[in-house]
């Protein structure tokens, strides 16, 4: 997508003449090719779309436990300004959010609710599992905590730490952005080959 001058500068008069020829439709073959490469940035619509999506991943306002405090630090403290990466607009409604940050321990009682909120989000959607608890239950190997949120929902980025520093969360968001830019499959079922897991009886009548 980078534009570069191939003829190495050149004369202004020559370029003006070439532009006039182009408009008349007289430019052909290698000259036309060169003219286009000099002046037009070519990309696919999907890549442009992904680029736009990657730079505005709106998170869901959703805090679980300790990591939520650090998550709020990412948007709230002037030191880490998540707005630099377009991820500062926390949305309270799952319908408006692009990604959910699982910030804290996922209890057995909370898991179906998280899944429901996740299902309410519109595709394309992404999940960041923040901290040891959401990724693997961390130190809580007991009856009450789901041993890793990826047991019941797809997770795109895992961030280690207990709790991770805000910088770590920023790094995770940037990783997710890179993933969005390079990922053609936007639905999570296509991404993780999970076709056939749709819930029955929830289709709109």
């Amino acid at each position: 997508m980078t534009r570069q001058r191939i003829d190495g500068g050149g004369d202004l008069r020559i370029r003006q003449l070439r532009a006039r020829q182009m408009l008349r439709g007289e430019l052909e073959g290698a000259d036309l090719e060169q003219y286009l490469q000099e002046r037009v940035g070519l990309t696919t619509l999907e890549r442009a779309q992904n680029w736009a999506r990657a730079n505005a991943p709106w998170p869901l306002t959703f805090g679980l436990a300790c990591c939520a405090i650090e998550m709020i630090s990412v948007v709230g403290s002037p030191r880490m300004d998540a707005a630099r990466f377009g991820a500062e607009v926390f949305r309270a409604s799952p319908r408006q959010a692009d990604m959910i940050i699982l910030s804290g321990r996922v209890s057995v009682k909370m898991a179906p609710i998280i899944r429901r909120i996740y299902d309410q989000m519109l595709e394309p959607k992404w999940v960041i599992s923040m901290g040891a608890c959401a990724s693997s239950a961390g130190m809580f190997n007991n009856y009450a905590v789901v041993q890793g949120a990826d047991k019941f929902m797809p997770v795109d980025v895992y961030i280690p730490g207990c709790p991770p520093r805000p910088e770590a969360l920023m790094y995770g968001i940037i990783k997710l952005q890179n993933k969005i830019k390079g990922q053609p499959d936007l639905g999570w079922r296509e991404r993780y080959r999970a076709e056939g897991t749709e819930e029955q009886g929830t289709e709109l009548a």
């Binding site: 306002t61 436990a65 300790c66 630090s73 403290s77 799952p94 609710i113």
Partner: protein
């Protein structure tokens, strides 16, 4: 109510009589009345129809995953049923499977805004059973960190509560100052949250070089910061209308519910465990216990702001009068030997090995220790059976007890007042559910 009122299952006066599962079922779409054209003469007036609404567990204003079942009459809240347990982590059960010194990281993660207090109260209980004396320097170091933690907790409360009331810029201001406290914690403990700084018998390390200067810089500017915040909020018309004369609870009710902390002090009762039952040499410091007069939301807000000023004073005094001496007990049966001794002393190596592999044993018995956390009386009950692991660890978390006063604050008032009530209650769900 008309005869064709929807069977919501929780309407009426006493929603607690309805079984729990039915209450959960009542908030689904199937139980809602089918939409249709209203029949003349049978329509229910909006003011008289009771409406059950589910607030949470995913709600931006509940400060965590608190779920409230509300029965509304128009916009007036008629009954509140808190449903908790959405971050139940089984910490108390997990503690029974850990050696005493490994329990500290677990209890720290209960109330995740007051981790120093959780560690302190657990260590206090264990030290009481071991009959272990904490060196004076360690006590002062604990006080410094706990009071800084109190300021950090209140700052976080200020930012999020003002955010709930519509003042979003307070969040940036409050977190800006909170970051400076977290920097101090990182200097002394190595991490921003859950530092595991307080140990049984003392603290893990002495203050690092530069801590004193940086801490004093922070303390010097903090009072002027609080002045700025009060200049923004104290006479803000929106805030005054949301807080003043709202949510008053009589002192007797608060005492009957067991409410402690800023909520109780705002109602005029000067109960502060730092004064009432001094621990960790709090009696060495000169500070005041701010109290309110009416016990409304505005008093709760003012009491917490005043507490921050007092905490600044305590930290200053503790830094000035920091005694010399060891920062952890020299009882090798309880505390790890210094690192440099391991290379030269066989005995130190054995102690280190025994402590790390087996831990220390606590004589059989039970005890209850209580301290003043940012939210009230934080108590810890420890039952020891003589082994290296506790038989039971139970926390009396102030958020859990204080949550009961929400009904008295908000019932019969508007939903908007309920939001203000949750904000001024300052519940931390990690502490409530544990």
């Amino acid at each position: 109510m008309s005869d064709e009122a929807p069977a919501t299952g929780v309407e009426g006066e006493r929603p607690l009589d309805v079984p729990y599962r039915e209450r959960e079922r009542s908030v689904t779409l199937e139980r809602m009345p089918a939409p249709g054209a209203p029949v003349y003469g049978t329509a229910v007036e909006p003011e008289t129809e009771l409406f059950t609404i589910n607030m949470g567990p995913h709600h931006p204003a509940t400060h965590g995953v608190l779920r409230l079942l509300l029965t509304l009459e128009g916009e007036v809240v008629r009954s509140i049923t808190p449903i908790i347990g959405y971050v139940h982590t089984g910490i108390e059960k997990s503690c029974e499977d850990q050696q005493y010194w490994k329990v500290i990281p677990f209890v720290e993660r209960m109330d995740y805004l007051s981790y120093y207090f959780n560690a302190q109260v657990f260590c206090m209980a264990v030290e009481r059973m071991l009959d272990e004396e904490v060196p004076p320097r360690a006590q002062y170091l604990r006080v410094i960190h706990m009071e800084l933690g109190r300021i950090a907790s209140h700052l976080f409360w200020l930012g999020t509560s003002a955010l709930d009331l519509g003042a979003i810029s307070m969040l940036w201001y409050a977190l800006r100052d909170r970051e400076k406290i977290l920097d101090l914690f990182e200097m002394s403990g190595g991490q921003r949250l859950h530092t595991r700084y307080i140990q049984v018998g003392g603290v893990i390390e002495d203050l690092p070089p530069g801590f004193d200067r940086k801490c004093r810089e922070f303390l010097a500017e903090m009072p002027s910061r609080i002045d700025q915040y009060e200049a923004i909020l104290n006479r803000n018309e929106i805030l005054l209308q949301r807080l003043r004369n709202v949510g008053e609870v009589p002192l007797d009710t608060l005492l009957g519910l067991g409410v402690t902390g800023p909520l109780l002090r705002a109602a005029g009762h000067p109960w502060d465990l730092r004064k009432a039952m001094p621990y960790s040499s709090y009696d060495h410091f000169d500070f005041k216990v701010p109290i309110g007069t009416r016990g409304d939301h505005y008093d709760r807000y003012r009491v917490r702001m005043a507490e921050m000023r007092e905490s600044v004073k305590i930290v200053e005094q503790a830094l000035d009068g920091l005694p010399e001496g060891p920062y952890i007990t020299d009882n090798r049966k309880v505390a790890l030997p210094p690192r440099h001794e391991l290379a030269t002393s066989m005995e130190a190596l054995i102690h280190h090995f025994k402590l790390v592999t087996e831990g220390f044993r606590v004589p059989p018995g039970e005890t209850y220790a209580a301290i003043e956390s940012p939210r009230g009386e934080l108590g810890c009950f420890v039952l020891a059976d003589g082994s290296a692991k506790p038989a039971r660890v139970h926390m009396r978390d102030p958020s859990f007890v204080n949550l009961q006063s929400l009904r008295h604050m908000a019932e019969g008032r508007l939903i908007a007042d309920l939001i203000a009530g949750i904000a001024m209650l300052d519940p931390i769900l990690g502490g409530i559910d544990r």
